[in-house]
């Protein structure tokens, strides 16, 4: 691996981690699509700030672009508050037009903006190592790496400092308000963080794929744990994993790195969706199958217990008559009886089933609440 490759992987990892950290709160607050809006409108901020500063690396650019993200959120809220359009439509109106203006400016002044449409959509991760930061003649590394390290540090610091506030306003805004915690201020603080992170990520992976980094790893982590801090750490870890896997996938396919990272995010979410312990599709199917068996065993035990010691007991408990009484087909009878025998609920004697003590207990438990 060359140092260039290592640097690209490092940039991608820092970006993914930063996006996942703020993304957790977007997903939990049902504001995931705000990331869609912010990542798009940030383009306009970057272009406008570039016109003013004439530089692509000025820290002012980062701040100005991040401000556009906050303005977008405020604009969506303003439109929603007229009560003339609903929130989903307001989001769908505001960011496309800001993005459109950005794209138009980029295409009209492409020569002077140092941005092109490919950068807007894909970022310029592959070229990131060529744009380096020097301080006093010392090479500090690629500019994107330095930027993302700063962004990540800001994210981590803000999350650590305001962890309690973020947590409370996310899960119970009413309680937060009554405790004097200004949920609106926290929300706008979070939006500022999202915007700042989106600007950093924009350079690396472009606007639309930033959405993948902000939503997919947190959603996957959300399926894997119930504790907020664990979800947050998991999300960051999944994000970094996707960044590394995506880089190598792109290397093998000779395709866009950002696109491959997004594809890996999708795969990570799909894996969590399928295999998450307790919550995944597989766990759900297994749980349902087990419940089906448990239910059938209980039914069998109740049936046998009801007739136990009565004149019709033998007729009701004969293996070859069970199907008719319980209305189960042959295969199901054989399957359930075998399971019942394995668990020591029934014993068979000359084609007739009898409950064991354990079976009786199960029947009793199943009919008392």
């Amino acid at each position: 691996m060359t140092s260039g490759q290592l640097e690209i992987i490092a940039i991608a990892s820092l970006t993914s981690a930063a996006c996942a950290l703020v993304g957790v709160f977007l997903v939990l607050r049902r504001m995931s699509l705000v990331s869609d809006a912010i990542t798009h409108s940030v383009l306009l901020g970057i272009v406008l700030a570039f016109f003013v500063t004439q530089s692509t690396t000025s820290p002012l650019l980062l701040v100005a672009a991040a401000l556009t993200g906050v303005v977008t959120v405020a604009l969506v809220e303003l439109v929603t508050r007229t009560r003339l359009v609903r929130e989903d439509a307001a989001i769908g109106l505001v960011f496309p037009v800001l993005f459109s203006i950005g794209v138009i400016l980029v295409s009209r002044y492409a020569g002077s903006v140092h941005l092109d449409i490919d950068t807007v959509l894909l970022g310029e991760l592959a070229f990131a190592p060529f744009d380096r930061v020097h301080v006093g003649g010392v090479d500090l590394g690629p500019a994107a790496l330095v930027t993302m390290a700063v962004v990540l540090a800001v994210d981590v610091a803000a999350l650590t400092l305001f962890w309690k506030e973020l947590k409370l306003t996310t899960f119970d805004p009413a309680l937060a308000l009554s405790l004097g915690l200004a949920p609106t201020a926290v929300t706008y603080g979070l939006m500022s963080l999202v915007s700042l992170t989106a600007v950093g990520a924009f350079n690396a992976v472009g606007s639309i794929l930033t959405v993948a980094l902000m939503v997919a790893p947190p959603a996957a982590a959300y399926l894997l744990s119930d504790r907020l801090w664990r979800v947050t750490l998991l999300a960051a870890a999944i994000g970094v994993g996707c960044a590394v896997a995506g880089y190598w996938l792109a290397f093998v396919l000779d395709a866009s790195i950002a696109g491959c990272i997004a594809a890996c995010c999708g795969a990570a979410f799909a894996l969590a969706w399928a295999f998450a312990p307790g919550r995944g599709i597989l766990a759900g199917a297994r749980r349902r199958a087990r419940q089906r068996v448990d239910f059938a065993l209980a039914m069998l035990a109740i049936h046998l217990a009801t007739h136990e010691g009565r004149p019709e007991a033998e007729e009701e408990s004969r293996l070859d008559r069970l199907g008719a009484h319980l209305r189960w087909d042959e295969g199901r009878i054989a399957h359930v009886v075998a399971a019942a025998q394995r668990r020591g609920l029934v014993v068979e004697q000359a084609g007739v089933l009898a409950l064991t003590e354990r079976g009786r207990r199960l029947a009793r438990q199943a009919i008392t609440f």
């Binding site: 989903d88 769908g92 459109s100 449409i117 959509l121 794929l209 997919a216 997004a262 999708g266």
Partner: protein, 364 residues
Amino acid sequence: MTALLPLDDYTLRVVVLGAATLGVVAGALGTFAVLRRQALVGDAISHAALPGVALAYLLTGSKSSLLLMIGAALTGFAAVLLVTAVVRTTRVKQDAALGIWLSVFFGVGLVLLTWLQRRPDASQAGLDRFLFGQAATLLREDVVTMAAAGALALLVLLALWKELKVLAFDHEFGATLGLRMRLVDVVLVGLLVVAIVIGLQTVGAVLMASMIVAPAAAARQWTDRLGAMTVLAAAFGALAGALGAVASAEVSRLPTGPTIVVVATALVAVSLLAAPRRGLVARAVRSRRARERLGLAQVLADLAQLEQVHEGPARGHHAATVGAMEQADVLPALVELERRGLVERTPDDRWLLTDRGRSEVSRA
């Protein structure tokens, strides 16, 4: 500008027709998406259409717009199915499910596009127009395909008008009527997919969603009737499409999709401000009138109260007295009340309730 035009009238006509067609279909169907609060489902479909375009080209090697549209429709529809499946089987909410699949599908689309671009044969050139749209590349056959698919979608819309109407406003009621609302919902998604796919070549995958939302949101301001809203949205869509396409064809380096979106959003802004009754201007005027009316009634009530407190024959009161009660300059209100014949001014500049004024107060 005309001198620089690389387009003759015929080409321009094709472009305008194409853009208007997509505007009509997206506007009409967008009405239902917006009413159903599914504005952002359109966003997911349009982003997810990109890998379909690339795949269709990869598998068939053809750039026929019909094939590419079919590919786009399939992946667009698949993304919506995945969103629905995630929402139904996990605790992940719709917003996150939309965000995941739209960005992941789009990412896969970009991977396919970049991968195609790096192949030695350059035959894939032109697929990028599906990102931001390029109206100038529309051919007559493309427009015919778009019109045919769009007409089909509009016919289904008409045929299922009643069902879709119930779905948009009260789907639970529809279910109690025995209508198969889930099926109708799937049909609506299918129609949206058609509307979006029609616009891909002109507006592009990134922004096509906006053509679903903007015309419908603009139309909503002018009417409360579903039929009128649908027709109006179609008209707004056509207008935005045509204007944007002409502008982008006439001016160099003006990408079509973004231009159309800017025009469509301008229509929304005008509608939000200027629509009668719902519009912000109309609302401001109305609330100002209401405030004034309230003020007049208050001044009238004050005069009546003064009359009661001061016994004997009514002699009227100075404007300053009433003004002291209201902590405001009430002279304009008194003049207005005089114009309406509810008060009169005595020669010594006092104000007196007329009989009509008194009955007005007791009525209030």
